[in-house]
Symmetry: C2
Subunit: 305 residues, 2 copies
């Protein structure tokens, strides 16, 4: 089934305890597209880029089945740029520079050819932009998932809550779930978020895995214990892309199938952090993914005698 | 198979965001014995108590198959007392009072009747006391497991490393693993700890579950997501007691069986935190444990289509 992804396509400058890169490809929609395209085609991308965005990167994505009709190019504009430095624990980071550039004028138009998408991923963006995408859809998709971040809780909480009320599944990390609800217990936080609208909720816990909530059921997915997390940038978007890409391929939005999708997303995210930027995602093959999924199965399997 | 447990039997005063208790039963060996006795008998206890330790508590434990020949009673002494206050996250706490009392003179003698124990749990104690217990054993047990805490890393690191070198399995939490090795990555920390001697290592991650390491294999156990962690005191000792109690019952120290034992320990720990002190552990039945284990299985089960 076809998949619509809206989000940023950008440049990042990153500093981790393992090294530094000045200007590499990034953005939520970039990571999500690299990840989702392992499972489903076409991926109908919605984003905005400047004339500085490398044509080779677009070609690479097109070869993977990513469509660009919904990507606005501002020839004399600059692409969104973010620069950050990770702390030793790799779970916290400082934003050093955030240059919105063309993103400041992002007001996406959904092309007619995208209206057949049954699966929609709203990457982290201003909630009003996320809502505008939903409002432009002629028919209700099978599944709309939405990512966000604490920044929007600070400056656009009312809009954020409206947007959350319009989606089927929300993705947040544990600290965001706590901030959004004022509840320390993730189980209580999940109940409050589900009461805002989404039937499904995924709470991402970084090196501790992820929790999927549906009604009063919970699925706990581990993260693969890694020797080194080289660069966590984009891991959340890669997770989301793998998750919804797998759902689109299997065309099944049951809770049972979502559990498998969480494992797929986790597997893709575990590749993402092995190199800077989306580099590792460009290399992996279906066999790599299958082997990685088997590592997840091995990691949690046990038998009671 | 019979099990030897050495550790503290004590009084605790606790303050959590949910309430406060002034003087309840505590101690690593108390929690471990309540937990292990769900699986195996006898549990041969080694500890030291003052004349103030309640006889009803001893009777309760004896009814569960816990033997007291190795518990020294100092009639005119006071039992070890600890008082602590938990922070909102329940993962961190401040020690308010630590009165060693009779624990200051703890120099355990292992009774002849305990020499048949094939399974040995060394609760958190001074490493020299832990080593003294091992040295008193006439034959090598099937499995010696050892708990410790960051306090001993600060004041007795050399002794601690010697003790670690004498056991088959070390239990630490994630921050202790990092402190002991200077490695942030738990995979790297585990390799360094395994190089110190123990073939097996369990890293406890509180609300994020636990990791079991053996050779280059890892097993990841979830924690049950709970609405409220009422009182985390003793959860680690309860985990350890359930873990080794299950191994003693099944008399099987393979990595495969240890995975099941980690789930048993996790299930017992998930009960422990539901009430103050060991209260909840006194109530639970074999059916409660079976149901809880099934919740763990449900929590992590998935199928890839």
């Amino acid at each position: 089934m076809s998949l619509l992804i809206v989000g940023t396509m950008a440049f990042d400058a990153l500093e981790t305890p393992f090294g530094k890169v000045d200007r590499i490809i990034g953005g939520s929609a970039t990571y999500a597209a690299y990840s989702a395209s392992n499972f489903t085609k076409p991926v109908k991308q919605v984003s905005i880029i400047g004339g500085d965005f490398p044509i080779e990167e677009i070609t690479l994505l097109e070869e993977r089945g990513v469509e660009f009709e919904g990507v606005e190019v501002v020839p004399d504009g600059k692409s969104f740029f973010w620069s950050g430095r990770y702390h030793m624990d790799m779970n916290t980071r400082d934003s050093l520079i955030t240059d919105l550039n063309v993103l400041a004028q992002f007001n996406p138009t959904i092309p007619e050819s995208y209206q057949d998408c049954d699966f929609v991923m709203l990457g982290n963006l201003a909630p009003e932009v996320q809502m505008s995408v939903i409002r432009q859809l002629h028919k209700k998709p099978k599944l709309i998932i939405m990512d966000t971040m604490n920044f929007w809780m600070s400056i656009a909480l009312d809009d954020l809550k409206k947007a959350i009320g319009m989606v089927d599944l929300l993705l947040v990390n544990d600290s965001e779930a706590r901030e959004l609800t004022g509840e320390y217990s993730l189980v209580k936080a999940a109940k409050k978020i589900q009461a805002m609208g989404p039937k499904y909720l995924i709470i991402k816990k970084g090196e501790h895995g992820a929790l999927l909530f549906y009604e009063d059921k919970i699925f706990s997915a581990p993260a693969l214990p890694l020797e080194d997390v080289f660069d966590p940038t984009g891991a959340g978007d890669t997770f989301a892309g793998g998750f919804i890409g797998y759902l689109a391929r299997t065309n099944n939005v049951s809770f049972e199938n979502m559990k498998a999708a969480v494992i797929m997303g986790s597997a893709l995210a575990s590749f993402c952090v092995e190199k800077f930027g989306p580099d590792r995602l460009k290399e992996i093959t279906p066999v790599d993914i299958e082997n990685r999924v088997n590592e997840f199965i091995e990691l949690i399997s046990f038998n009671i005698a």
